[in-house]
């Protein structure tokens, strides 16, 4: 199959993806399509398989079975090409506190081979986009939680990604900082027609931001569609939280099979929230 950014195919095609950690099935026969230019939300309780799906998609884990394509490129055989198309913000806080904000972004500009002659301008541009110009030359260890997340966004945008992947980017942030992150994501998506794939636990935000949503539970896809379609299918006045509860039941508690993954996710989320202060 031809991989191209110019074509009309979907941004992400996941077909029959399964992924195991020992006996634990993290992702079970998942089929998913993300269209170009849309903001797609992957929702589900801890241990649902969201992060594992993102990690296969971003080439960190090779697919064990099934196929995953990003703009038509197979993540198994064209991993390096896929990586050049992605911007990724992981669940944990992932900046180097011993470097300044500008150095953090420049580091990733170099790793994505942004040409030297345009590197400084590109870095300054993304720092301005996330409103960190004034703080750019301060050590990142002095940043607030919201600033750290904006810096991570700048790192993820410096290679001008076609697909921005955000794994719970607002966990641990106060409402103002959360709004600030989502405003910027929406703005970037609108301005550059990027495809955005995100996971979040905040249903209101997913409802407001996402064009389409997929609900995962115990590694399987339980429902997908636009927020309006999902809510209308449940009840006329249903909220997205109602949809979430309907499809996942009491799954916020660790399940027998998903306990390991769920607890690991919870621990990671709490650690990040703690570091956010």
């Amino acid at each position: 199959m031809t991989g191209t950014l110019n074509g009309a195919g979907p941004a992400v095609e996941i077909a029959g993806l399964s992924h195991r950690f020992g006996e634990h099935v993290a992702v079970d026969d998942l089929d998913l399509t993300v269209q170009r230019g849309e903001c797609f939300g992957l929702l589900g309780p801890n241990g649902a398989g969201k992060t594992t799906t993102l990690r296969v998609l971003n080439t960190q884990y090779p697919p064990q079975s099934g196929s995953v394509r990003v703009f038509g490129l197979d993540v198994r055989s064209r991993a390096m090409a896929v990586r050049r198309l992605l911007g990724y913000v992981p669940q944990q806080l992932s900046i180097e506190g011993a470097l300044t904000g500008r150095e953090n972004v420049t580091w990733f500009a170099r790793l994505f081979d942004v040409p030297r002659r345009e590197r400084a301008d590109r870095v300054a541009g993304v720092l301005a986009t996330v409103d960190l110009t004034e703080a750019a030359d301060r050590l990142a260890s002095t940043y607030s939680g919201g600033m750290v997340r904006r810096l991570e966004l700048a790192q993820a945008l410096v290679n001008r990604p076609a697909l921005l992947v955000l794994d719970e980017p607002t966990v641990g942030l106060d409402p103002v900082a959360r709004d600030s992150i989502w405003d910027r994501v929406a703005d970037m998506q609108r301005r550059y027609r990027m495809t955005v794939l995100l996971t979040t636990h905040y249903m209101q935000e997913a409802d407001a931001l996402c064009d389409r949503i997929a609900l995962m539970h115990r590694g399987r896809l339980r429902a997908s569609g636009s927020p309006a379609e999902l809510k209308a299918a449940l009840a006329p006045d249903a909220s997205l939280e109602d949809v979430f509860r309907h499809h996942t039941g009491e799954s916020l508690l660790p399940t027998e099979k998903g306990e390991k993954g769920a607890l690991r996710d919870v621990r990671s989320t709490r650690r990040t929230a703690r570091r956010m202060g």
Partner: protein, 276 residues
């Protein structure tokens, strides 16, 4: 066959995708990037340079001066302090590099490793970059020991080419030992375990080398071990370069080069385990 994407998907002013450099150019680019990041970190916090300099200085000033006086170690016509100085350079580089794996575990815990793994950087290039960044850090130690040695009257060469050779040897040694540390990190996965193993193997590596005494005075079993220890070749090359002691540079550089490449490949193979 897949075509290479060549145009932006949306409104970016310029294409987001370019094939980028390949092979050796990519490797050198990544090594340069990680070395630069290491220099930036050192620039922002120089305290480590001072604290890490204390131990090698003590080895030279106390151990070296005392053992010079008692003439306990047969070094021929070479004063013991002169003989010891290259060994202490190698030892201080070893001590820095052997705990370098802690950094990669910290980066794993902080989510930085995950992000690095999804940049267009092959895992071998990522590990090589970190290995040479560790080497850069050890150069600072080597310079401190050289200066202290000169102050103590050690008859070192000041030939610029030989001093450059010293830095190359130190970096190659540090590349191997930092990869050994990253390999252990990939096996044990936790900082506490790596600290324990690092402490357990550092002194045996040091004592099973020619850093403190000639291989000839070792018992036979230790002599065999010392020949399998890359630190021995590092010290031999440093002695050759700094105090003119005869050595087989081909053997020394080959041993260090093979050890560094093997270390990089092994640590890169275990990187996925660390990031899981």
């Amino acid at each position: 066959m897949s075509a290479v994407p060549a145009a932006p998907p949306g409104g970016w002013a310029e294409p987001p995708f370019a094939p980028g450099p390949r092979g050796a150019v990519l490797l050198l680019s990544r090594i340069g990037t990680f070395c630069l990041v290491e220099l930036q970190k050192l620039k922002h916090d120089r305290s480590e340079l001072v604290t890490r300099a204390i131990q090698p200085v003590l080895w030279l000033v106390i151990f070296g001066v005392t053992f010079s006086r008692i003439h306990a170690i047969p070094t021929g016509s070479v004063p013991y302090l002169d003989y010891l100085a290259p060994g202490i350079i190698a030892q201080s580089a070893l001590f820095v590099a052997i705990f370098y794996g802690i950094q990669i575990i910290w980066e794993r815990d902080a989510g930085i490793l995950t992000k690095l793994l999804v940049t267009p950087t092959p895992r071998t290039a990522l590990v090589a970059g970190k290995a040479f960044a560790a080497g850069l850090r050890t150069i600072a130690q080597a310079v401190v020991v050289l200066v202290v040695s000169a102050l103590l009257g050690v008859g070192l060469t000041w030939n610029p080419a030989k001093l450059l050779g010293v830095l190359v040897v130190v970096v190659m040694g540090a590349a191997f030992f930092s990869c050994l540390s990253m390999t252990i990190a990939g096996l044990v996965l936790r900082r506490e375990r790596l600290m324990g193993i690092g402490q357990a193997i550092t002194m045996p590596l040091f004592f099973a080398s020619n850093a403190l005494y000639p291989v000839d005075v070792m018992p036979e079993w230790l002599r065999v071990l010392s020949h399998a220890n890359p630190l021995t070749y590092e010290v031999a090359a440093l002695r050759g370069l700094l105090i003119g002691q005869p050595t087989n540079y081909w053997l020394d550089f080959s041993a260090l080069g093979v050890a560094a490449v093997a270390g990089i490949c092994t640590a890169a193979a275990l990187l996925s385990r660390l990031a899981r």
